[in-house]
Symmetry: C2
Subunit: 133 residues, 2 copies
Amino acid sequence: MNLKAKGSKAERELLHLFWEAGWACTRTAGSGSTTRPAPDLLAGNGEIVLALECKAFSGSNKYFEKNEIEQLETFSNIFGAESRIAIKFSRKPWYFVKIADLKNSGKNFGINLKLCEEKGQKFEELTSNDRKI
Amino acid sequence: MNLKAKGSKAERELLHLFWEAGWACTRTAGSGSTTRPAPDLLAGNGEIVLALECKAFSGSNKYFEKNEIEQLETFSNIFGAESRIAIKFSRKPWYFVKIADLKNSGKNFGINLKLCEEKGQKFEELTSNDRKI
């Protein structure tokens, strides 16, 4: 499975998790190939909208392009959504991390499993009714 | 251009209109082919989220399947969005119509240009700051 197919599979997996938790969720068409900022997923529960950039990978460190993160912030600010990076390491649960909690080198944004475990929320925490923002 | 390509072109046209008006907007991947309710477009301006089913056509009357409308309502209720049908007749502006204003025959939902002109909003009315909901 190539990287793009793997990414789409991870997005669909997360989309179904949201629906099963009672949220509505859509995948964005042309995410990564349109000139307009476009998060991978949008999820809403009548109170909160989440704009998500999703990444599933097998390594231990991951970097995001500055532009990718800036576009997610721009989109979320205009739309009225909270932004999160959704991260899935092999054989680990999904973690949801705020942009402010990524390691910002100035050139790009880094994340690893340790940072996810320290700063991230798991799916059940993110979607629970008494969630902390 | 086949119907699907024509539909995608109309959706992209509307997506850019929203961005140019200062809204954020996404097209949904797999709309019409996923098992989950999925509007064609989601647009937000920090205050309102709109879930849109888009149709561009050349005839004078159009019918929507009951299922299509029900899915738009379901999605909008869970997500926390206002639902609208976005209609584009040849050489006419986009009209935005509420589900409640469609002609409901019990089996399907009908719309024509006259109904759009009477009940629908134009893009500028829909997206203006002092819009009437």
